[in-house]
Symmetry: C2
């Protein structure tokens, strides 16, 4: 197997691109995909500070790594979810990465902000753990960015993540979720920062290869609550389609962004208010995070 660019020995075959690459040329391919994502969606400029949400996993650390190499002004954000050993280890990976690269890492704790860690939130709400966890993460990412004066949050969502979410939305034709699925969500309110996903063009296998080749030390274990999540089943479905027809995931997601999503964009935007309790945006009066936090604290005081 030869590298498509230099003809040297390839380390990785990318069937969907009908290509194979040696290490330096794969790393360049990876960087180019990130550059293309940033350029196409005007995600951020070199003058802006970017808050990179890192979980300690391969995707978010690979993202941070690329952005540092590309000369962007980044700050890492680790949200401590309080999920037993998984959180202890993943935090350590983020801290070690930040120290090694000499970059700033901010840590925010869900237990401190909501009143309890994710495992307790799960029991109090009696909903799937990903529900309260996702809500808390989205809220805290935005709030920390506002507090730091950073205009944009970047997350490590990759092609597999985005295609799986899309499949879930399409199987139920969730016409509310479809227009919100994008590699770049603009700021539609002064108290809402931009959210971008610079890895949306790169598969999970590619981010894993990047992290491996760049010797990034990341947490390999999945979140213990992820087992049985529908997103994992959707990823398996897409992996089978991809095996039969290389490029299936890429065509599904990028075809949606080009031709599907415009059909679902709403003419009138949702009206955003400021939560009367915390000042963050909400479509109601009190935001979902404050309601969750209330419920957790009430339950703890019983």
């Amino acid at each position: 197997m030869k590298c498509r660019k230099c003809g040297g020995a390839a380390v990785l075959e990318l069937r969907r691109h009908n290509a194979a690459f040696c290490t330096p040329d794969f790393l360049e391919f990876f960087q180019n995909q990130v550059r293309e994502a940033i350029r196409k969606y005007r995600m951020f400029t070199r003058d802006e500070r970017v808050l990179v949400a890192v979980s300690g996993g391969k995707d978010s650390l690979a993202l941070w790594d690329v952005l540092i190499d590309e000369g962007y002004h980044t700050t890492g954000l680790y949200l401590d979810l309080g999920i037993f050993d998984y959180s202890v280890e993943s935090k350590a990976k983020c801290e070690a990465f930040a120290a090694r690269r000499g970059v700033e890492l901010v840590v925010s704790s869900v237990a401190a902000e909501v009143g309890a860690p994710v495992p307790v939130i799960k029991d109090v709400t009696r909903r799937p753990p990903c529900s309260g966890c996702g809500l808390s993460k989205r809220y805290l990412m935005n709030r920390v960015a506002l507090d730091l004066g950073v205009p944009v949050v970047a997350t490590g969502h990759n092609l597999d993540d985005e295609a799986a979410t899309l499949l879930g939305s399409v199987l139920h034709w969730q016409t509310d979720a479809l227009p919100r699925q994008s590699p770049a969500l603009p700021s539609t309110h002064p108290r809402l920062v931009r959210r971008v996903k610079p890895l949306y063009r790169l598969s999970e296998r590619e981010t894993a290869a990047y992290a491996f080749l760049k010797k990034i030390d990341y947490i390999v274990e999945e979140c213990p609550f992820a087992k049985g999540a529908t997103s994992i089943a959707h990823k398996e479905t897409l992996n089978r389609l991809e095996a039969e027809s290389p490029g299936a995931k890429h065509n599904f997601l990028l075809g949606f962004l080009e031709r599907g999503r415009p059909a679902f964009e709403r003419v009138e935007d949702v009206v955003l208010n400021e939560c009367t309790r915390c000042g963050q945006v909400t479509t109601g009066t009190v935001c979902a995070f404050c309601k969750l936090s209330d419920r957790v604290k009430r339950s703890a005081s019983v």
Copy 2:
């Protein structure tokens, strides 16, 4: 397992309806689903003649059977594709069914109309066999209906067929195909009859059970050219989703019809002309059927 309606012994469990039925109550359930389809999409009335396209398989014969029982004025149409023994046997099944029920069956031959049977068309065009076959079937169904003065053609497409087609269109975001996917396509030109799919709410398993319980003698073999068709792969994908989450297919298709399809309906319709050769509708000057037929005849004369 007890029948949901009468409490007697059930013969069939329908997980997606969280129900089980005895034979008479299943047959009634089946008929009700067909009635609901006809009513919801105003497919045809008791005053109209309906051309039922029959292949000899379970779906189309079950459809014809229900429509006869419901008192509709039907004529069967068998299109002889000339696919070896498969066509010989499937034609015999249709003729036996028509004789048993005392209904009229019209036979039209692709070899006579196009100039060669499907296996030869496949070789001449060097395209997948389903391509020329589907084109010829759609054309001939419409032409026979026009010749007979019948305003509507009904086909046996079931929930699995429709969901698989939809999955194929969505995976590639074929925005041309998406608005055309409907249980009822109106006549948009005087030389184009309506096309309807009264079984779109019923799964393949349900049409098989109906045919079995009504003792309909149908051809069990699939078309020999169907092997490896992507529609079969898409059905397997959907079957896995259905096994994990009963109702997945139904929600996918019916959710699309309710909330997805309206987003893709084009504001301006395609302009339809009459083919300068045969007079049937085309978006160009000479229709695709006449072009195919020319090509087949030219190749035969070489």
